[in-house]
Amino acid sequence: MKSKRDIGGPRQPLLQVSELRKYFPLKGGLPFAANKSAVRAVDGVNFDILKGETLGVVGESGCGKSTTARLLMQLIEQDSGELVFDGETVGSRALPLRQFRRQTQMVFQDSYASLNPRMTIEDSIAFAPIVHGLPKRQAITRARDLLARVGLEPERFAGRYPHELSGGQRQRVNIARALALEPRLVILDEAVSALDKSVEAQVLNLLLDLKQEFGLTYLFISHDLNVVRYISDRVLVMYLGQVVEIGSADQVFDTPKHPYTVALLQSMPSMNPLQRTTVAPLAGDPPNPINPPSGCRFHTRCSHAQALCAQRAPLFASAEKGHSVACLRYEAGSGVHFNHNHVEVAHG
């Protein structure tokens, strides 16, 4: 069945995101003022999600990770940009929104807020299949199967309400609900961030098992770098609404290229007390996304910044196979070179 739905073949990316843009206009000011200021939450994001992979997304708070997730899920509409799901443009005649949504599901961070408090959990899980035309009885049967699959005995849990479950149990319910439509892509927006460490590990392993069993593709958004490294095949780094680096998990974590990624990795507490980070790798808060810096958006906090960085926005350049970075130092002929007096410290 899986192969039948796999339209473009295994090498066709499952989701291609191109030039995705979302500005949130600020409240206040005159209603029809010509140049209203806006928060540039997502500002020209491009990336592919490959079939069967787990793509991790990392970045500071407010860098546009969650907005990107909501855009991919089409919970909010993009200002511009295109989503291509397995070769078909989302929202086109070939792939209407409703069909796309059946194949893409999302697990939210807040396990309690994402379940209807007045619905039993089996009803919550069965809701989506019923909406898509599955008879109620079969939908309930499926909900119970899924409950068993995510490690909750249906006999004990099916008729309960969300407030009677622990955070970890609720997040399992949310995962079951996301799987009820048999999606191909699951967006996990900080899905394990609110859980205790021990529960988090259990849920992560459950996610890995389910991925195997149902042939899923994950977009895994988290601010926890250790977790991202553990679960991801490839990692994407975002800064101020843009992608600054993308590559395999090993490439990004072992040989980070973008100064922001380097700083982000240095801010991870080390397990070795002798390698304790003593100087803050990144000073200050990220700049205001209403009025982002000119040129490279990171130049205001970058220790490698040169004069040109404030003028030219870097293009995405390939640093090595499968590893791209938006930094002028890697862009051939940009005029910005490596400053070899500066010793780059990869995170050990």
Partner: protein, 298 residues
């Protein structure tokens, strides 16, 4: 539509697992343990029973006048609660009058509950331009003090029960719609509605399955607190001669016609008012109990 293959093909009968007690069962269990609310409910139930069974319970004909038995004091022979300014038996009139008074208290609120919640839920869920259109229109009505609006509408439509009913309904629609809109807007922004939208459900399906269950409770509680207001406003309209017409007994109207007797028989004159007071206080106590029972955080 049937493109989803079931995980389990055999459509065997689904055994019903034990369900936890639902939200409303919990609310009911809590309100039963609230003595204030239970006393209020008992008072209201007996008032409603007396009003409904009035034709069989009345000791005398409430319309029979007697020039010789005018304004008899409480406890007179044959007239337990005395007589009014035309010599009619006050107890019988109070019993029968409860029908119209309760009807005028409950019906406008019920109508406004249906119409106001519909408007508010549509505005809250749709958001954007539709929300602005509905809510600003409603704000125009909201700008008037409710007593003034009720009197103005009744005056414009003319006296009569139906017109008083319409004007009271119009008075309550904006208040209920506002509550409905704000609660719906909150629910609309919740993650579970986002999850339902992400599953491809239509707006109608989401409102039916996810919004109503979370929104109707708070609106209902608010509406019950309006019943007493409605009763008092309806009595006020009758008092002004805009609602019920004589000789039909109604507490507000009785208060009006008896007011001339306030110096000669103050207790008789106060009786209809006491009934209005007890009924509206009971409705408010029940409403408070309901609110308390629903506000418990789980």
């Amino acid at each position: 539509m049937s493109a989803i293959a079931p995980l389990v093909t055999a459509a065997v009968a689904v055994p019903a697992f034990k369900r936890s007690r639902g939200h409303w069962a919990n609310v009911a269990a809590r309100i039963v343990r609230n003595p204030m609310a239970m006393v209020a409910a008992l008072v209201l139930l007996s008032l409603i029973f007396i009003a409904l069974a009035a034709p069989w319970l009345m000791p005398a004909d409430p319309f029979a006048t007697s020039m010789f038995a005018r304004l008899k004091p409480i406890g007179s022979v044959g007239h337990l609660l005395g007589t009014d300014e035309l010599g009619r038996d006050l107890l019988s009139r109070l019993m029968l009058g409860g029908r119209l008074s309760l009807f005028m208290g409950i019906t406008p609120v019920l109508l406004a509950f249906v119409l106001g919640s519909s408007l508010g839920i549509v505005a809250g869920y749709a958001g954007g331009l539709l929300n602005t259109a509905i809510m600003r229109t409603i704000d125009v009505l909201y700008a008037f003090p409710s007593v003034l609006l009720a009197i103005a509408l009744s005056g414009a439509l003319g006296a009569g029960i139906l017109n008083a009913l319409i004007s009271l309904t119009v008075v309550f629609i904006p208040q209920i719609a506002r509550i409905a809109e704000s609660v719906t807007t909150q629910v609309r922004r919740s993650d579970y509605v986002d999850a339902a939208r992400a599953s491809g459900a239509s707006a109608f399906a989401i409102v039916r399955a996810h919004v109503l269950g979370n929104v109707l409770g708070p609106i209902f509680v608010y509406s019950t607190s309006l019943i007493s207001v409605s009763m008092i406003l309806a009595s006020g309209l009758s008092f002004l001669g805009l609602g019920v017409k004589p000789p039909q007994p109604e507490w507000g109207l009785m208060l009006n016609t008896l007011r001339t007797a306030i110096y000669s028989q103050p207790w008789i004159a106060a009786l209809p008012g006491a009934f209005i007071f007890v009924t509206s206080v009971s409705f408010n106590m029940l409403s408070d109990g309901l609110r308390a029972a629903m506000e418990v955080k789980q």
